[in-house]
Symmetry: C2
Subunit: 154 residues, 2 copies
């Protein structure tokens, strides 16, 4: 892992996301890093981010983690694909075209979750990724996302 | 619309969801109602629930709205399908098996969003729904969900 996360290299004006923006003071500050060829994110939900039953995490948070982490990994992957290293110019900003989450098991509260994103395809402005959410060594959710690079950020 | 929302009829022990649980003091309290044959939810996001660019809403909130609203609509639909009216025994509790969101346009901040769910199929313990998110009369996202009734809540 590097010290700075992918999201720390977003341009300032696109860094306000409640999920992952470093400039959103009320946000969750989801952070993504390289782990070999995968993007990896570790996140421990707050107690109040529970599902209907208190011992589990609510589905919207699982979706948010996959969404923000895949957007960040798409940006870092495209940046690298275009021949740039992290730390030079800001990385591009991607938005979500589609997000699919399969909830396989309840995701337990009170543990650090690992979200792992794999790059399936980089094609022009589009990056397709798959993702898993793991808690205590068990995959509790799987995701598929299609991310698209925004035009303002060539 | 009725005065009490679908989520107000959940059993107490399944009412802690950060998205829609009436007993989660820190939660968003997403509320769903009948509008004819559709489930309808109106929600005005907080300013800090922005996307990367401050004028829009973050994708995870859109996913959360569709998720919680479809779970509530599935529960109310199954309750009605089984011959019960709202206000008698608690409605069943559904969990999400899968959630798909297509983000068609940015969803603007500062306006009330309408989330509309349509019931596609009720089959045993499974309810399939589609959903739209509308802002200022424009559909900004579409969703598809598969909801499954939990066993503890027959």
């Amino acid at each position: 892992m590097t010290t700075k996360a992918f999201q720390d290299y977003y341009p300032d004006n696109y860094s306000h996301c409640y999920g992952c923006g470093r400039l959103n003071e009320n946000g969750m500050h989801i952070k993504s890093y390289w782990d070999g060829e995968d993007g990896i994110c570790r996140f421990t939900p707050a107690v109040h981010q529970s599902g209907g039953f208190p011992g589990n995490i609510y589905g919207g948070l699982i979706a948010s983690l996959i969404d923000c982490h895949c957007a960040g990994t798409a940006a870092a992957a495209k940046h690298r694909h275009d021949g740039f290293e992290l730390g030079g110019k800001p990385i591009p900003r991607f938005v979500t075209a589609s997000l699919k989450v399969d909830y396989l098991k309840p995701t337990p509260a009170g543990v650090e979750l690992e979200v792992r994103a794999k790059i399936i395809e980089i094609k022009n402005r589009k990056v397709v990724l798959s993702a898993t959410v793991t808690a205590d060594g068990v995959v509790t959710a799987k995701g598929e996302t299609v991310m698209v690079q925004i035009a303002e950020n060539n």
